[in-house]
């Protein structure tokens, strides 16, 4: 029943947005307006519909289980869409297309790196995550280790990744709105931050999940429509598409082969490790595994999510390659009309210009509204993950030692969501004009070196002890953040020093190895009674991880 109501809301949202899409098309002169009314109208429809869902979800959100995991009642297919919605951020749409636009084939390598973590998450982690976790990934990390120290540390790891990722989304939001509505960057950041607080604070995981699902459908639908419109212009021929791209791009034939991005094998390896295992350490993604009723549905969600994500990545590759010809040779998209100069709106905008070129202002408006909705959905997932780290892990478990009432915990969660919203707004403003995709890589570096090692070892290695996990995590955190600060992008480009102290932008190869090594060393040398007890507890944990016996079940409504 509830599901059908939501489907109805989602359906009417689609219907309304298509009506809006069609209506202004008949009105001449929309193009000349400095403000894109169709974009604003479509975005408003999304906002109103999602606020409606939030209101409905708020009525359903009575317990902490409702708040953190939507009561565990999401199906595998729904969760797959929502995971895809969480993962396909505005940075993916804008960043990957822009990478293909500027660097050609290198953009595809990047996309493969972003994708490849998914099958591995399914094979090695999905069922264990579902069977062991309850609300947060710290539940698993601290399953048989010291509740205070490991939980605190895992929560801090989550919050660090959440903050990095939030910056990315906020910067994307600001850039988009600047281009579309002619509004101040800072206003956009504030709008996103405030809406995010409303979704998460009132609607919890239920609202966040449905925002993700709707957004994933809109993004996939929008991307595929744009691809079809674009391919029609090339006579449905890839041959034609690439021939023209080679003619139009200053790289010429080099567009079609691997270039400078991966020229250094250590840098390439570090990037791929960071993206592969970083995906498996993203707290907002891990959290999605607790929203389904059992391991069966958890596996199915990864299957659907992987399919949608892969499809979307392939679509973005085509869009990027098409933009080379359609956007790259049109003076209307360059500042001062100078082809090859600076793109209007910045380097992340090729796909938006492409939408305008092949679909007109209305389609640009639609895609912009979708991209904006995308940012909203992703930040909501992040804020929820961050808020649960604060309220469930730090407040309820560590500070209150499990004695907090459900009402108290919910209250803290809501304060935490508001706090994260304000933090996100401030960080978004502080990080204006940074490359979006690079910041994603930064978040992945930390996720792979802090969250992933403790998570995977706690599930797979009997010998893991509190001491090892704690010091390994600290080593991973200090080295990944430290190395990113010393990397060319931060040390040279942002801080203005002459030469980078650490030569690679992606720290994973060093920081992840270090985290694993320190964890191992300090675990095997740990001869304390606690360590022996922790190893003993592994057997029961193993049975639960494998069979689901005793796993947190779906919450009955």
């Amino acid at each position: 029943m509830k599901r059908s109501i939501t489907a109805l809301i989602a359906g009417s949202l689609l219907a309304v947005s298509f009506t809006v899409l069609a209506a202004p098309g008949a009105i001449e002169g929309v193009q000349k307006q400095p403000i894109n009314f169709s974009a604003i109208a479509m975005f408003m429809v999304f906002v109103i519909a999602t606020l409606g869902i939030t209101k409905w979800a708020a009525g359903k959100t009575k317990s902490t289980a409702d708040f953190y995991t939507a009561g565990g009642g999401i199906t595998g297919f729904q969760n797959g869409l929502a995971i895809a919605g969480d993962y396909m951020s505005a940075a993916t749409l804008l960043g990957l297309t822009s990478m293909v636009y500027f660097k050609g084939y290198d953009g595809f390598i990047y996309a493969v790196c972003f994708f490849i973590g998914w099958p591995i998450i399914l094979f090695l982690m999905a069922e264990r995550l579902r069977n062991l976790g309850k609300f947060t990934f710290a539940d698993i990390a601290s399953y048989r280790l010291d509740q205070n120290r490991i939980r605190t540390f895992a929560a801090m790891g989550s919050l660090t990744v959440v903050c990095f990722y939030l910056i990315v989304q906020m910067v994307g939001a600001g850039q988009l709105i600047q281009l579309l509505f002619g509004l101040e960057y800072n206003y956009a950041v504030v709008v996103v931050g405030v809406l995010m607080m409303v979704y998460v604070t009132f609607g919890g995981m239920t609202a966040t999940t449905w925002v993700q699902i709707i957004k994933a459908c809109l993004l996939l639908g929008g991307g595929i429509t744009l691809m079809l419109l674009t391919m029609a212009q090339f006579g449905w021929s890839f041959e034609n598409l690439f021939t023209k791209a080679i003619e139009s791009h200053k790289m010429g034939e080099k567009l079609m082969v691997p270039g400078s991005l991966m020229a250094d094998p250590i840098s390439a390896l570090s990037l791929s490790l960071g993206l592969l295992f970083g995906t498996a350490g993203l707290p907002h993604i891990m959290m999605r595994f607790f929203t389904v009723p059992n391991a069966k549905e958890a596996r199915k969600s990864v299957f659907y999510a992987t399919g949608f994500i892969g499809l979307f990545f392939l679509v973005t590759m085509i869009l990027g390659a098409a933009a080379i010809t359609i956007v790259g040779t049109n003076p209307a998209f360059f500042e001062g009309g100078q082809v090859g100069g600076k793109l209007i709106g910045g380097g992340n905008m090729p796909v938006m210009h492409l939408a305008k070129a092949v679909g007109g202002d209305i389609f640009l408006g639609f895609l912009s509204a979708v991209a904006f909705a995308t940012i909203l959905a992703v930040v909501s997932g992040l804020a929820l993950a961050g808020a649960s780290a604060i309220s469930h892990d730090l407040y309820a478990r560590v500070i209150k030692k499990g004695t907090a009432t459900s009402a108290q915990e919910m209250k803290v969660t809501r304060f935490a969501s508001v706090g994260l919203g304000i933090t996100a707004i401030l960080l978004g403003i502080a990080f204006k004009d940074q490359n979006v995709l690079f910041l994603v890589a930064l978040a992945f570096g930390v996720a792979s070196s802090v969250n992933f090692p403790v998570l995977i070892l706690s599930m797979y290695w009997k010998g893991l002890t509190t001491r090892g996990a704690l010091w390994g995590g600290i080593a991973g955190l200090v080295s990944s953040v430290g190395l990113v600060v010393l990397s060319p992008t931060v040390w040279v480009k942002i801080l203005g020093n002459k030469a980078a102290i650490f030569p690679y932008d992606h720290p994973a190869i060093v920081s992840m190895s270090l985290a694993f090594f320190v964890t191992w060393l300090l675990s095997v040398t740990d001869k304390s009674a606690r360590a022996a007890k922790e190893a003993e507890a592994y057997d029961e944990q193993f049975v639960r991880a494998q069979t689901g016996l005793g796993a947190a079940g779906a919450h009955a409504h």
Partner: protein, 104 residues
């Protein structure tokens, strides 16, 4: 019967060992099928980029790099389907038997 007795019973059930062993081996096998080509690809992209410059056919401008990358993505997804069908079918039936026998 206490919880830990059930756990002990499950651990001593040969079917549990069979299920865990089969599923673990299958997961590792599939992971290798994904990771070995992926890291081979990454290393070749980095060290031997010219290998990817060959054209997909005579007179085409498209290099083999594009379909290879697309294949890694598509193949990765197909393998998730393979895993889910076997894990949700064969392995889960075994798992249910194990749980049923433990509760007896």
């Amino acid at each position: 019967m206490s919880q830990s007795n059930i756990y002990a019973k499950i651990r001593s059930n040969p079917k549990f060992a069979e299920m865990v062993g089969k599923r673990t081996r299958f997961a590792i096998l599939l992971s290798l099928i994904v990771l070995v080509p992926y890291y081979t690809y990454m290393l070749l992209v980095s060290l031997q980029p010219q290998l990817f410059a060959a054209k997909i056919s005579e007179g085409s401008v498209i290099t083999i790099g594009w379909p290879i990358a697309a294949l890694i993505v598509f193949g990765g997804w197909l393998l998730t389907g393979v895993y889910v069908s076997r894990a949700n079918g064969e392995f889960d039936s075994l798992n249910e038997e194990v749980l049923k026998e433990a509760r007896k």
